[in-house]
C-alpha cells in the first residue's frame, strides 16, 4: 500500500463513510429483506375474508372477554399460578446447577482441550435452539404430563442461555488475579473457588434473575402441552368457551409477569 503513506490520501479516504464493499453489503441486505417480504406476501396462505373480518372478530372477542369472572381465581387459577411460579423457580435453579460445569468447559481461559470446548458449545447451542415447548413435549412423552416435565423443560431450555452468559463472564475475569493465585501453588479447584468465583458471582446472580424473569413468562405456556401450571387452566377455560374465565387467567398471568419484573428490578438495584 503506497497510498497508505500519504497523509492527505488517508484523510481523504476517511471522509468517505463506507467502503464500496460495505455499501454493497448494505444494499444486499435491503434487497434480501424487500424480496423476502414480497415473496412471503404473495405466497402465504391467508384467506382474504378472514383478514377482512379480523377487526370485527377481535372486537367481538374482547366483548366476550369482558368483564372477567374474578370468582374463578380462587377456584381454578390460584393453585395453577403458584405451580407456574414453582416451575419457573425450580427450572431456573436446576438450570444454574446444570449450566455451571458446561460453562466451565466452554470458557477458553479455563478449558484448553479443544474437543471439550467444542462439545460444551454444542450442548449450549442445542439447548438454546430447542424451544421450551418442544422440550416440554419431549419430557411429557418421557415422564408423563405434570409439573416435573415443566421443570425439566424450563431447565433444559435455560441451560444454554445461562451457560453461554456465564461462560462469557468467566472469559472476562481479570486474569491477573488468577495468575497470582496460580503462583502461590494453589490447586486448580482452589483457583476456581477463590480466583474465578468471586469475580463471576455478581454476573451469575444477575443472569439468574434475568432468566427467572423470562422463565415466569415461558412457564405460563407449558400447560398447553400438558407440562403443568397456569397453561392448563387457560386451556380448560378456552376449550369450554368460558370467556370470562379466560380473561381472569390472562389477567392473573399479566399481574404475575409484571410483579416478577418489578421484583427483579428491585433486587438488581439493591444488590448489583
Amino acid at each position: 500500500m503506497i497510498a497508505g503513506n500519504d497523509p492527505v490520501q488517508m484523510t481523504h479516504r476517511r471522509l468517505e463513510r463506507f467502503t464500496p464493499m460495505e455499501r454493497f453489503s448494505r444494499w444486499l441486505v435491503l434487497l434480501i429483506v424487500v424480496a423476502a417480504i414480497v415473496v412471503s406476501t404473495r405466497h402465504v396462505q391467508i384467506i382474504p375474508e378472514f383478514l377482512a373480518d379480523a377487526p370485527s372478530q377481535m372486537l367481538d372477542l374482547l366483548n366476550r372477554l369482558w368483564p372477567p369472572d374474578l370468582s374463578y381465581y380462587q377456584q381454578g387459577v390460584h393453585e395453577a399460578l403458584m405451580e407456574t411460579l414453582h416451575i419457573a423457580s425450580l427450572g431456573t435453579i436446576l438450570a444454574l446447577i446444570l449450566a455451571l460445569p458446561v460453562a466451565l468447559c466452554s470458557a477458553r481461559n479455563i478449558t484448553s482441550n479443544p474437543i471439550l470446548l467444542v462439545f460444551a458449545k454444542l450442548v449450549l447451542v442445542s439447548s438454546r435452539s430447542v424451544n421450551s415447548l418442544v422440550w416440554a413435549l419431549l419430557f411429557v412423552a418421557v415422564f408423563g404430563p405434570g409439573t416435573l416435565a415443566g421443570v425439566l423443560a424450563i431447565a433444559f431450555r435455560s441451560v444454554g442461555f445461562v451457560g453461554k452468559l456465564l461462560g462469557e463472564a468467566l472469559e472476562e475475569v481479570h486474569m491477573g488475579s488468577v495468575e497470582a493465585l496460580k503462583a502461590t501453588g494453589a490447586p486448580a479447584t482452589s483457583v476456581l473457588l477463590k480466583g474465578y468465583w468471586p469475580q463471576v458471582k455478581p454476573a451469575l446472580w444477575s443472569i439468574a434473575l434475568f432468566r427467572w424473569d423470562i422463565n415466569v413468562r415461558e412457564s405460563a405456556v407449558l400447560g398447553l402441552v400438558g407440562a403443568g401450571g397456569i397453561g392448563i387452566a387457560l386451556n380448560n377455560a378456552l376449550n369450554t368457551f368460558y370467556w370470562d374465565k379466560v380473561s381472569t387467567v390472562l389477567l392473573s398471568i399479566f399481574a404475575v409477569v409484571i410483579a416478577a419484573e418489578l421484583v427483579v428490578t428491585q433486587i438488581r438495584k439493591r444488590i448489583i
Partner: protein, 264 residues
Amino acid sequence: MTMPSTSHAKRNPFPVNWPSRIIWVALLAYLVYALSLIDISSERMIAGFGHGADMLGRMVPPDFSRWSLLLEGLLESLEIAILASAVGITLSLPIGFFAARNMMPPWVSWPARTLIAVCRSFHPVIVAIIFVKAVGFGALAGILALIVASVGFIAKLFAEAIEEISLKQVEAVRASGASFGNVIIFSVVPQVLSRFVGFSTYQVDSNLRNSTMVGIVGAGGIGGTLFSAFQRFDYDFVAAILISLIAVIMAGEYFSTWVKGVFK
C-alpha cells in the same frame, strides 16, 4: 503504630454475613418445599428413563420421507416470521416514539407504555391461541401473534434508545439551522440506527423461533406438524422435524450476525 492488644487477641477473619446467610437458608428452604410438591419417585424416574431410551431409539434414523410436508411447514413458518417482523417493526417505530418520555407528554407516553407492557407480558403462543379463536386457524393468527410480540420487544427498546440519546448532538444540529426533518435524520437517526438494526435482527431471530411453535395451537407453520407427529408417536418424523428446525434457526442466527456486522 497499632495497638499490640488487638494484634494478639483472637480475630475472626470471616465475620458472618447475615443477609447473605439468610438468603441462602431461605433459598434452601424454598427448594425443599417446592421439590416436595412435585412427584419425583424413583419408579417414575426409572420408568421415565425407560421411555426416554425407547423414544431416542425410535428417533433413529430420522424419517425424511415426508419432506414435502416438512418443507411446506417450514416455509410457512418462515413467511409468518418475515411478515410479522416487517409489520411489527414498522408499528414499533411510532409506538416506541410515543412511549419515549423525553419526546412526548405523559398523556401520550403512558398509554403507549401500557400497550407495550401488555404485549410483552404474554408468551407469543398464548397470544396465538387468542388470535386463533378470533380469526380462525392458519397463518394469519400466527402473524398477528408475532406482531404483538415484536411490538412488545422492539417498541420498548426503541423507546429506551430514544430516551438515552444525547440531546447535545440534537442541539448542535438544530443550532446549524436545520429543519425538523433534518434534525431527525442527522442527529436522532445516526444515534439509534445501529442499535435499532441490532434489536430488529434479534427480534427477527426470535420471531423465527416462535413461528415454529405457534402451530402447536393451530396458528400455522411447522409447529402443527410437529405437534401431531408427537401425538401419533411418529418419533422418527419428530426427529426429522427437530433437525430441520435447528438447522433453520442456526441459519437464521448466522444471517442476523452477518447483518449486524454490515450495519456496525
